[in-house]
Symmetry: C2
Subunit: 141 residues, 2 copies
């Protein structure tokens, strides 16, 4: 069981921006070079994070990308659920219709309860709880 790649990478971008805070602001090139990924992939992530008010983007010479107050305050479980962009259950009973469908099968409901336990566990934390050395220390290694 894995987070999808989009969620996994988005989390690392938010962690990086949260550490870096606004000194200095980051650029797409900065993020692309830091995480060694293509700008095209990065742009999709940045557009989603911006559309969901998790980052602030400012165009122009003094522009850049910053972490938002919302991203600092949102609980991690709610953040992961938002990034997953997926309200379908962990087990998929629909795409290939299951023979147990409409037979009072409790598989989906048991997994939904377990998923809530997963989210509630993460909701005890915020982005700032994922401590590590400051971003500057990372580049001093």
């Amino acid at each position: 069981m894995k987070l999808n790649h989009f969620t996994d990478f988005s989390m690392r971008v938010l962690m990086y921006l949260n550490q870096k805070n606004d000194t200095p602001q980051s650029s797409l090139n900065d993020l692309a070079n830091t995480f060694k990924i293509s700008r095209n992939h990065l742009i999709k992530v940045v557009q989603f994070l911006s559309a969901n008010q998790l980052i602030l983007t400012k165009r122009g010479k003094n522009g850049g990308i910053m972490i938002s107050e919302r991203a600092k305050e949102i609980c991690l479980g709610d953040l992961i659920h938002l990034l997953e962009q997926d309200d379908t259950p962990i087990v998929n009973c629909d795409s290939k219709p299951c023979i147990f469908q409409s037979h009072n099968c409790k598989l989906k409901s048991l997994f939904n309860i377990a998923y809530q336990a997963f989210i509630e566990s993460l909701n005890q934390h915020k982005l700032s709880d994922i401590e590590f050395k400051t971003w500057s220390a990372i580049f001093q290694d």
Copy 2:
């Protein structure tokens, strides 16, 4: 966040065999026809379930596939963890080395704690708790 297809399908095979119990025993063709999947895919699942004592297979004229006592007794969370065949964390910090690695990053540990909450929630149940009409009723629809 999804279970992998192998786990998802293995669960449905076990649910089916648990309902059918041993009257009559199932065959590979029975399972392939019931779930509308290829024998090749099914054989991999059956071999794994048999190797892990979750089903019993008997060759010959009166042979077939049956649910095992272990499968009836194992807690669902432990069963899912076994089927996932994956001890790697939900976030993958290694395959593409993360810049936060070895910087006291708590992302992996927070997700491992949340995953344990997920497994413990499922461990309150067994296969028999996933109630639905008996297998015979399914084919009467």
